[in-house]
Amino acid sequence: MFKKCLFILVTFMLTVPAYAAGNKNSIQIKGSDTMVNLGQAWAEKYMEENPGDFVAVTGGGSGTGLSSLISGTCDIAMSSRNIKDKEIALAKQKGNNPFEIKVALDGLAVVVNPANPVSNLTVDQLAGIFTGSITNWKEVGGKDEKIVILSREVNSGTHVYFKEHVLRKGNASGTEEFAPGALMLSSSQAIADEVSGNSSAIGYYGMGYISNKQKPVAVAKDTNSEYVNPSIDNVLSGKYPISRPLFLYTNGEPQGLVKKIVDYILSKEGQDIVIKTDFVPVKK
């Protein structure tokens, strides 16, 4: 009996790593929640055209993706922010060499409930709301209601981008923070759900998540500029003030299967999928 158990155990230990290592036709893509739908769409189309190759896509946040790339547990990391110097240093330490590929653009939409009369905000007003210095909707022309701030968790590239470019207005040495009372939700969908059910909530996420249950706010750089809606054209022309590039990171220059997929993503077909999932292509 004991011998039998030992035999099973040993076989198990020998086969599992062999299986994992032998599977050369599969690659792992991991990272940004903003990009997970996009990544999934790419993967599905790609696999349809290349049967036999297997692409797995998981979310978790840009930080999660990059730290998996650094530790070698995924092949491609999706990220909605630039890799940090700290992360590059860490990767070099482990013998990895992150390679950056810009694959799409994303407009960050600021959304409120459709019942909310406020539909125009300046970047200054947004910064005031999200840092907690503006606490009531009537201060920005709305009803007399307390503002409920919704934010993504700190593992989100969207969170980091919004903090750096809206709260701190691009000032790298700024110290503004999200109001401590801001609700930290774990996904863009959770923010969308809360906004659609809560008339005093304000949140932000990638344009792709906008539906008719939320109302995107038109944003102006300052009081002298025009208010611009988040749309593909406005992001591409640079008129919309809160937009950002989306990246893929690979370990060293892409090779083999990874290169095949990256090439597919940058092809006309791959970029069409970008438009279909409500992002903005890098080239039109």
């Binding site: 503002i147 409920v148 700190v154 009372g181 801001a182 809360e194």
Partner: protein, 288 residues
């Protein structure tokens, strides 16, 4: 040959028995090693009593006081809801219910224990959260109260089954004595049975609370996760467990944020250790 076999099997079982202790020690050592490194960049006082949690800013603010309060508040709320209901339920099952109802109730409670916490969290998010919002006229229903209610559901099975056990093991003679003295059924229950089973009931409550304080998924989904020191139970809170779960993905291995999350793990470990030891003390008191 036979003796040899016996010897091997005995040693094998011994190793299995020691393994659990070995693992606990290993986990504790690992937690301590990783967690204590955070105190190179922040003093223990600032860590435990700091009021702001901004782990990824430069410089990072690593104060977990709001998180400790968040965990304690949600747990306290859950305890206030689940203890009276749980103990009353145990009394009913152990003393009053006819056999048939007893069987149904016990099966139902076991089923409640079997519901995964993410499912409870999801149900809470779509039903309880809007209800809390509209009932209390709050700006948002993602509050400590919502978390407490859902966690009370999770603590109840533990409390009911262990408390019922404690009530059941009170010697029959106590009950008969009380009846013989002319006490009514209710008087017997609260003057004789409950005091006699009190240590077991306290243990049940402690184990229930232990379950609540370590719960992660459901609280992360419905408490709003805002790291402020709560002024009432109707505001969003962020718990220790939800913080670790939400942020461990981002934390760059070896950064002070990463070490801080391990340090939070130590705080949680100590909390649940205290709760378990208390429960154990009461259980042993009863057995003596």
């Amino acid at each position: 040959m036979r003796k040899l076999k016996e010897f091997f099997i005995e040693k094998l079982i011994l190793i299995c028995g020691l393994a659990s202790i070995f693992f606990v020690v290993l986990i504790f050592l690992f937690l301590t090693k990783e967690g204590l490194s955070v105190f190179k960049s922040v003093t223990p006082g600032n860590f435990l009593f700091g009021k702001s949690w901004y782990p990824i800013s430069e410089p990072a603010h690593l104060g977990i006081l709001p998180l400790i309060f968040g965990s304690l508040l949600v747990t306290l709320g859950a305890a206030i809801i689940s203890i009276p209901i749980g103990v009353a339920c145990a009394v009913y099952i152990a003393e009053i219910a006819p056999l048939k109802i007893k069987e149904i109730l016990k099966a139902g409670i076991e089923l409640l224990a079997a519901i995964p916490s993410v499912v409870l969290g999801f149900i809470g998010m779509v039903t309880l959260v809007p209800w809390v919002k509209s009932t209390f006229h709050l700006p948002t229903g993602l509050t400590a109260l919502s978390g407490s209610i859902i966690l009370a559901f999770m603590a109840m099975p533990t409390i009911v089954s262990i408390a019922e056990d404690a009530l059941y093991s009170v010697p029959k003679s106590y009950k008969e004595g009380a009846f013989a003295l002319g006490a009514t059924h209710w008087q017997t229950i609260y003057r004789v049975l409950l005091p006699a089973a009190s240590s077991g009931i306290v243990a049940a409550v402690m184990l229930g609370i232990g379950r609540v304080i370590g719960e992660t998924m459901a609280v992360m989904m419905i408490t709003g996760n805002a790291a402020v020191i709560p002024q009432s139970i109707l505001v969003p809170v962020r718990t220790l467990t939800a913080t670790i779960a939400a942020e461990m993905g981002e934390a760059v291995v070896g950064s002070e944020h990463y070490f801080a999350l391990f340090a939070i793990g130590i705080v949680l470990f100590i909390m649940s250790f205290i709760i378990n030891v208390t429960a154990d003390l009461f259980l042993h008191k009863r057995n003596r």
